[in-house]
């Protein structure tokens, strides 16, 4: 037992004790550092661990029509989301719930993509889950703690395809849009307006999301909600009252010839308020709610008649005969003519201009006409000469001043600007200084040539004619100041003369047959040349002619001529002015065989043919030209 002798062992015990105490001193110091010196930092982390902010989605505002009828509303719905600690367990959960959720591989990929962006936020697998799915999932919840089923109001459009192009639809904001800050204030998963009023007034409709703090466990499951005082109430979205009269809109949709493409805009010319705006074919915006099925999307977006396309604001057509009123207004304002002026050459079915012969649509000729008669019969020869009298530079300048170079400014997203030469430089650039002649003026004077306009822009111009003082407000779907009104700058008597001429169009001229008893209707037909088939028919008119309260612009693609469109427009006027009993939506009018066919396309320049891009459809052609 020599190793155990006292002095040695006492010394070792002493050293051992020192070592022990040193070890505990180090431990104590470490804890002092963590718990006393750095405690604040860890306390903060602990709070962050514990409390998470959860957005309380603000209910989206309603869209109502001018009489308070709901056009877009929220109905109860459920969304299914998963909260996973790792991508692996997300996959396992998806596999386990596959029999119920039936996610396809594309959805799966996007789910994982979304998960990687924000792993601590629930990944929405399915919005707008049907009730049976929710109840089936609810049963499995005890075994799937990461399953989050949230009440998630969904959007509903009671009028479906009738108001599709007006109201638009909503969809979940995409990552790209978040990156580009297209929707300020939107977060992952926010529903944002994709089209129509939903898009245009998205910021007002969306409201402001509230916040609440909830206590979460390590897996992110909500344990309890923190006190009410720490909650920020959501601000519900504003209700947007549209100027639209949905009954009239329904009438328009029902009256529009079935199977045809085109658009109708009904406006109150006194204020610029849009009463109805319909584009055919339409689509059901309810399809987009809860994420559209990729196949349906493909069908909608690839269909040859482009239902998603708003033909009132996005399709450009040659303005054709309705344009003649613009030339007439310019000439009157400049004092070149008055309403009874005659041109140098009477109409003999056409006129020679240098080396080319420009035809009138009526081969027999109209004879010697006054301006009023020329409008009434839409005589091309008269307007060729009127255009030359005004002169190309003045014509372009006045047209730009009247707004034919700009979009109308209607409060709908993605309105296409018209195509119109800003000045003669356009021709210089396009064809070279000597590559063109003043012959372009002739085409321009009758609404052909390098000039395509949207329906809404033409409607805005006719609103000036309809307004007693010759001004037009920016077209509005929601009341508000859209900007400075444009003015024709014509005397009231000159305006009255033009209106009288337009009345004659409906009473005796190209739109004869579209009259409605008890109504004095003013309007102008038009036939837009279409390189792809039958011509497109225009009609723009207003009533009652001496104090216009309603203005209707309509275009029907492949309708051959505007006189076929006129009855559609006049019925809409009657419905609005005289009430539902005045006119039935169907029957009683027929698409008439054209009384006046379009003037043949006059090949002035070899290049003009190129202007009309060879494509499927005027709509797509218009889109192609802007590029």
């Amino acid at each position: 037992m020599s190793w155990q002798n006292s002095p040695d062992i006492a010394r070792r015990a002493g050293v051992g004790r020192t070592i022990l105490l040193a070890v505990f001193a180090v431990l104590t110091l470490t804890f002092f550092r963590v718990q006393v010196v750095r405690s604040d930092r860890y306390r903060l982390v602990s709070e962050e661990n514990r409390l998470r902010t959860v957005a309380i989605i603000a209910p989206r505002g309603l869209v109502i029509d001018r009489n308070g009828v709901v056009l877009a509303e929220n109905v109860p719905g459920y969304s299914v989301a998963l909260l996973a600690p790792s991508p692996g367990s997300l996959g396992v959960m998806l596999d386990r719930l596959q029999p119920i959720l039936a996610t396809d591989s594309a959805t799966r990929a996007s789910v994982f993509q979304r998960y990687r962006r924000a792993p601590t936020e629930p990944v929405v697998i399915r919005r707008d889950a049907p009730f049976e799915m929710v109840s089936a999932l609810e049963e499995l919840r005890p075994w799937n703690p990461g399953l989050v089923i949230q009440s998630d109001p969904k959007r509903r459009y009671p009028f479906g395809d009738v108001t599709a192009h007006l109201v638009g639809y909503v969809g979940e904001v995409t990552e790209q849009e978040l990156e580009d800050r297209d929707y300020p204030g939107a977060r992952i998963g926010t529903l944002v307006g994709r089209d129509g009023l939903e898009r245009r007034y998205d910021d007002r409709l969306r409201g402001r999301n509230g916040k609440k703090f909830v206590e979460k466990d390590a897996l992110g499951r909500t344990v309890r909600e923190a006190g009410q005082e720490s909650m920020l109430e959501p601000q519900p979205g504003e209700t947007i009252r549209s100027t639209v009269d949905v009954e009239l809109q329904q009438f328009v949709a029902a009256t529009f010839p079935a199977g045809r493409r085109g658009a109708v805009v009904v406006m109150d010319p006194r204020s610029g308020e849009i009463l109805a705006l319909y584009s055919a074919p339409s689509y059901d915006p309810n399809l987009f709610i809860g994420g559209i099925d990729p196949e349906q999307w493909l069908e909608l977006s690839q269909r040859r008649d482009f239902p998603l396309f708003n033909r009132a604001t996005q399709a450009r057509y040659a303005p054709a005969s309705p344009w003649k009123l613009a030339v007439a207004a310019m000439a009157l304002r400049r004092g070149i003519v008055d309403i009874n002026s005659r041109m140098k050459f009477p109409c003999r079915g056409g006129m020679q201009y240098y080396n080319r012969y420009f035809r009138c649509w009526r081969a027999e000729g109209h004879g010697d006409l006054t301006l009023a008669e020329a409008i009434q019969y839409s005589c091309d020869v008269y307007f060729y000469q009127l255009g030359l009298n005004v002169g190309l530079t003045a014509l372009l300048q006045d047209a730009i001043a009247l707004g034919f170079g700009d979009p109308s400014g209607i409060d709908l997203p993605n309105e296409y600007p018209p195509i119109f030469p800003a000045s003669t430089d356009y021709y210089n650039e396009r064809y070279g200084r000597r590559g063109w002649t003043s012959a372009v003026t002739l085409n321009l004077a009758i609404g052909q040539g390098e000039n395509t306009q949207t329906l809404i822009n033409m409607v805005r111009f006719y609103a000036m004619l309809a307004h007693p003082r010759g001004i037009a407000f920016v077209p509005r779907l929601v009341a508000g100041n859209g900007g400075e009104p444009r003015s024709l700058d014509l005397s009231e008597s000159a305006l009255a003369d033009l209106r009288a001429a337009l009345v004659a169009v409906v009473d005796r001229g190209t739109a004869a047959g579209a009259q409605i008893a008890d109504l004095r209707i003013a309007g102008k037909t038009g036939t837009a040349q279409n390189a792809h088939g039958l011509d497109h028919g225009w009609f723009i008119g207003f009533a009652p002619a001496d104090n216009p309260r309603v203005l209707v612009g309509a275009i029907v693609e492949y309708a051959e001529h505007g006189s076929a469109v006129a009855p559609l427009a006049t019925r809409i006027m009657a419905r609005h002015l005289l009430g539902p009993d005045a006119v039935a939506s169907r029957g009683g009018y027929r698409i008439e065989t054209p009384a006046d066919s379009a003037p043949e396309s006059i090949p002035i320049l070899p290049d003009t043919a190129l202007l009309r891009a060879p494509s499927q459809d005027s709509a797509r052609g218009a889109a192609a030209r802007t590029r």
Binding site: I9, V34, R43, S86, D217
Partner: protein, 429 residues
Amino acid sequence: MQRHGLDRSLLLAVGGLVALGLLTLYSAGQTDVPSAATSIWKRQVIWLAVGVTGAAAAFRVSPRVLEWATPALYGGAVLLLGVTLFFGTGAGTAAGATSWLAVGGFRLGQPAEIAKVATVLMLARHMGALREPPPGLVKLLPTVAIVGVPFVLVGLQPDLGSAMVFLGILFAMLYWVGVRVRLLVLLASPLVSLLLAFSTISWGAWIVILTVVLLWVRPYALEGVALWLVNVAMGVMALELWKNLAPYQQNRLLSFLNPEIDPRDTGWNIIQSKVAIGSGGIFGKGFTAGTQKRLAFLPEQHTDFIFSVLGEEFGFVGVVVSLALFAILLVVLLRIARRAVDGYSSLLTAGVIGLLLTHVLVNVGMTVGLMPIVGIPLPFFSYGGSFLLACCIAIGLTLRVAWESRLSGYATSLGDTGGWRVPSAGARF
């Protein structure tokens, strides 16, 4: 207590730790999310009863009888370890390791815990019989072998933490028996080699230092060369050994070096534990009110990370109190070891000190990131029957050692009066 001749300071320290441990374990089960640990404290109370019985039994056994029975106990423990290695199952915190012995699906316990005590006894028997401390490395070989067998068996399970405890026991007892410190350093050198081998520069420096030390200490030539070679071999083997580690072990070591490497996976434990402890502040969040614990951010809060619960709920004050209790316990044990009447008893107590100190240091150090996460329980705190029983038995044995030395009048003869009296009723034994 005095009447029964039991060491009062030891009992008070252990009693305090057990009480604090049970409170913390109860709290660890009080969470806001469903947890299997909710009523685990009740089972711990049952185990505590078993442990007290075991301690009483151990107290009743004379050191002489114990010394006589030691080889059998040690042999039995090693046999159990071997059986466990082949038939064991994984469970609980060591799900990947085969550390449990089960019969017919009923888990009996973890033989490694009992083997720790048995190894202490065996080492005490072997070294207590020595006339003088082993002077050279060769003379240390039998000692190393006694620890080596259970060390390897436990390491193969693989249970890195328990294997480390065997080393703690070995070095504590070697120190206590008077082996020179430089010899201990040489003995530890292969381990150091192993750890430093991850960087060629550090390992090269270590080999140079070792060579210098060897030349200075001048052990037997063969010994010196052998040791040097073992060091080199360890350095070379390190990479292979690393590859052979289970991925979770690799991760634990890596995230010890830098928890932020993988904050969601392996680093998570260290980060969340530090957050729990740090957010406790000076006075803590209050009994059962720890939010990190309640919301299940703490991993293994009823076993490996129970000290984090204590740190969160009782704060720095609670930590200091429990660390002080552990320190008192170990210092008292040191005193008992010094006053033991025979070498066996003294070494046994030293072994118990090594065992407890390693557990406390590694477990507590792990919760604040001082030590890698090697999942070993905290004595008297962590839930676990085998370990609690082993600790109780160890305490029972040391109580007997203290009682024996007082009986011999050793304490009085040295004039130390701090609670030490010749027991009047001790003659009953």
